[in-house]
């Protein structure tokens, strides 16, 4: 193919892809445009641009769904879970690489095997465990379960990454008087930054969006996370689209904004995570 016909091809592909992208975005158009319409206008024409912007839809939905509370709960659960998952997994993986004992080999095998277990297989007994520990219907209960469920995958990713971290720097630090704990926190942890970012963004997305586990553990309305608040709001106001659509938009907005800011890390994280998988 000569250069000229090649570039013409590329323009054709570009136009095609832009059209496809518009099709991909269409659901968001429906969501946003209708979220500011009056109920009557949604019913009469769901595809048109809003004639009159009913911003009050948003304040109504915000108050009724108690989104302020839900946002705070989601933030607490996501931030604490993600920090502890990353820290504990990095620590465990580090030790398992540096002390390659038989015990640690078996442990790694267990973590890898756990990644195939569907959540549904363990969800029923998990509730029993949570009850016995007395952390049912509480944020700590959700934190503990998030940790247990996400640690295997994170350890697996860190394990692969740490194997490529050179040992010489650590030896030098030990000679300079560092103990194993300070070696890890001062020397190794900063070197793990790329994999830390991967673990952070992937777990943040998963935990923020999770519905099933929080719905099983948190029953009190004031503990609801955003997916739970949206779900119960929908149950109450099914078909009241002028309430439901602004609620959905509010639910979707934080994660889309997070995505647009962290895009690079999310995409790199997925690529890195999949190469090892």
């Amino acid at each position: 193919m000569n250069a000229k016909s090649k570039s013409r091809w590329n323009i054709g592909i570009e136009v095609l892809m832009i059209l496809l992208a518009l099709l991909f975005l269409a659901p968001f158009y429906f969501l946003l445009a209708n979220s500011v319409k009056s109920f009557g206008e949604i019913l009469s024409n769901a595809a048109s641009w809003p004639q009159e912007f009913m911003w009050s839809n948003y304040s109504n939905a915000w108050k009724l769904a108690r989104f302020g509370e839900a946002f705070r709960n989601s933030l607490i659960v996501t931030v604490i879970s993600v920090i502890l998952i990353s820290l504990f997994s990095a620590m465990a993986a580090y030790r398992m690489v540096r002390a390659d004992t038989k015990f640690n080999k078996i442990l790694l095998l267990l973590f890898v095997a756990a990644m195939v277990v569907p959540f549904q297989t363990i969800m029923i007994p998990i509730l029993k465990v949570v009850n016995v520990l007395g952390v049912n219907n509480s944020i700590p209960g959700l934190l503990i379960t998030n940790l247990g469920l996400s640690i295997p995958m994170a350890i697996f990713l860190f394990h692969g990454f740490i194997k490529s971290v050179p040992l010489e720097i650590e030896e030098a630090a030990t000679v300079d008087g560092c103990n194993p704990i300070t070696v890890f926190f001062r020397i190794v942890l900063p070197l793990l930054k790329p994999m830390l970012m991967t673990t952070i963004v992937l777990n943040a997305l998963g935990i923020w969006n999770d519905y099933l586990l929080p719905s099983l553990i948190l029953q009190a309305p004031n503990l609801r996370t955003i997916p739970l608040a949206t779900f119960s709001f929908f149950g109450q106001y099914t078909k009241q689209w002028d309430m439901a659509l602004p609620a959905l938009t509010i639910g979707v907005a934080p994660i889309v904004i997070f995505y647009l800011f962290m895009q690079r890390y999310i995409v790199e994280g997925i690529a890195a995570g999949s190469v090892k998988g």
């Binding site: 193919m1 429906f30 195939v116 247990g148 519905y211 689209w241």
Partner: protein, 293 residues
């Protein structure tokens, strides 16, 4: 604590301890408990749990048409969903590795549905299927938009497939882009000079070289579609008449709506065995097709 005298045992406890603790409490112990409960008649409430042997499993195999119809739905959904998401994801990736001006923006857009949870996506689409399609049907007159999208077993199936592909192909696109950008330019140029058509290059050079990504793409899509729950719940609640009920949802309902925790854990254990066997076979088969560059 004297740093350099920290014993090996102390180090093991400090570094690995927290992870093992949470992993045991949340995965190992519940898994073992699940094995026990699947042989009991536990109802989740009373303290009385009695051993019933293989009764739950007998029940599932001989007397539970709902489980098998949800299983059949999940199998059909998985087969179609896995193929479509991977094909769409691959072609988006293939075209987006060409030197396009809007390439980065396009990648951002195609990936976007992925960051939003399945539950919220399902609700957004519920509105589109009910109100949006009705309006489009009136304006365009296309019968496609006037189908009873969420009200019928067949169209309900396709509705969930449509949303699933829209949601998931962007993720697979990212994996395929990462893999495609590792394919050496020289090999492709050499093939071009030798007069290979774009289709021949794709089939005989590109696809064999990115087989590792195919292994992962299939693995991910299989486990997503097998475990699907949120999307069903918010789009159709498994209806109409349980026609779009996934296995995950059937297990959930058995335990938490019918209060048959014992039977639910038995189904969950069976589900685990099926998922494990299928993914192992898939990984083995596609791995054997991987080649070295």
């Amino acid at each position: 604590m004297r740093g350099h005298k920290l014993s090996q045992f102390g180090q093991q406890l400090f570094f690995v301890g927290p992870a093992v603790l949470f992993f045991s409490v949340v995965m190992i112990i519940p898994f073992l408990m699940g094995m026990y409960y699947s042989f009991t008649d536990w109802n989740g409430v009373s303290g009385n749990v009695s051993w019933v042997g293989f009764d739950n499993f007998k029940n599932i195999f001989t007397n539970d048409p709902d489980f098998w119809s949800s299983f059949w739905f999940t199998v059909r959904f998985t087969l179609l969903g896995v193929v479509l998401t991977n094909v769409v994801g691959f072609f988006l990736a293939y075209l987006l590795t060409k030197p396009l001006k809007t390439r980065n923006m396009l990648r951002t857009i195609f990936f976007m549905p992925n960051v939003i949870g399945g539950l919220l996506l399902g609700f957004i689409w519920q509105f589109i299927f009910i109100k949006g399609f009705a309006t489009l049907g009136e304006t365009t007159g296309w019968p496609f938009f006037n189908l009873p999208w969420l009200g019928d077993a067949t169209t309900g199936f396709w509705a969930i497939i449509m949303v699933f592909v829209w949601q998931s192909s962007g993720y697979l696109m990212v994996i395929y882009i990462a893999s495609l950008s590792n394919v050496s330019k020289e090999v492709l140029e050499a093939a071009d000079i030798d007069g290979a058509s774009p289709f021949q290059v794709l089939r005989n050079i590109v696809v064999p070289l990115i087989m590792p990504a195919v292994t992962i793409g299939l693995f991910l899509a299989i486990s997503w579609s097998f475990k699907m729950f949120d999307l069903n719940l918010s789009l159709t609640k498994g209806g109409p008449f349980k026609s779009t009920e996934s296995v995950a949802m059937n297990i959930y309902n058995e335990a938490f709506l019918n209060n048959r925790y014992g039977l639910g854990t038995a189904k969950a254990l069976l589900f685990f065995v099926i998922v494990a066997v299928i993914t192992m076979i898939q990984v083995r088969v596609t791995k054997s097709k991987e080649v070295e560059a």
